[in-house]
């Protein structure tokens, strides 16, 4: 058990937490945060596993760097879409339950 392997395993746990948040939470912003946690878990696995096997590996690190930038852009786009959806429908979740209308404009 080395430190990079611990990172990779923590990444697996983060993936699980993120998946649970994605399934269980109904507010769209929370879903987005949960999705990002899942993505961070994937990044941790991607960096930790090769480092455990053969020392620092720049190839997965570069891929993760690419992934982080794409994740930021995708998150920003998702926030823009969520805000647009909120303005059009007044809902903060996709299910349309009355409970999700809190804070919605009258």
């Amino acid at each position: 058990m080395t430190a990079p392997l611990l990172y990779a395993l923590a990444g697996a746990i983060l993936c699980g937490i993120g998946l649970f948040g994605l399934l269980w939470l109904s507010h769209l912003l929370r879903k987005l945060v949960a999705f990002n946690i899942m993505g961070s878990g994937v990044f941790l696995v991607l960096v930790g596993l090769p480092q455990h096997q053969g020392g620092q590996d720049p190839v997965p690190q570069a891929l993760v760097l690419t992934g982080i930038v794409v994740a930021i852009a995708a998150t920003a786009l998702a926030v823009v879409l969520i805000r647009r959806y909120y303005h059009l429908s007044g809902l903060t979740s996709l299910t349309g339950e009355p409970a999700s209308r809190e804070g919605a404009p009258e």
Binding site: L19, D57, P58, V59, Q61, A62, A73, A74, A76, P105
Partner: protein, 232 residues
Amino acid sequence: MIRTLKTLAMVAACVSFSGILALSIWTIAGQPAPVNLPQLLSENMARSGVEHPVTAVLLNFRSYDTLLEIGVLVIAGIAGISMAKTASLEDPELRTSDSLLYGLQRWFVPLMLMLAGYLLWAGAHRPGGAFQAGAVLAATGVLMRLGGVPMDFLRPGLLLRLGLVLGFTVFLLVAVASVIGGDAFLAYPPELTKPLILIIESVLTLSIAMVLLALFVSAPVNDAEDPEEGSS
């Protein structure tokens, strides 16, 4: 009752997902790596044109990924600004008139621009590069935006569109030029590797910063009570 069952099922699914993932990580970790990528990389570093391995991978050995990535960014940026209400971009109500903040900004913005330039240049031989520099540049833009510095170029117009697609266009041109020259797609000519990487990195920095800033600005900041957003 049904809700409790549902929650339990979800917890079980997520725990088993994590468990399977961790198990496969454990199994893979126990085996030796099939290819020694770091060694392969260090043997070819001399041909890459830069000294830092991550930059070499990003802009030379796996530049196809980077090309596609900037493509994704451009698409996200265009989708973002197409969602925005253009009139709200330069809403005078959003401008703060705090003179202290303004004074602080006048110190910060040049420093951050300099830091972005340094990060871009440092990418050749130490951690740094187009993405970090682009992020700092975008953060500078966000700071200026929040502080109320007018930024007319962010109006969806020619300048913004040019900035958005500049990185992708230049990268694609370089890639296609090497095909026309009879080489593989994205293969730089050996004697031009360093200047080409530098040019691509610079335009990538600009484009990444523009995309992030455009997405930030297009997340509308006007009153939530206004349901008419986007209708004008």
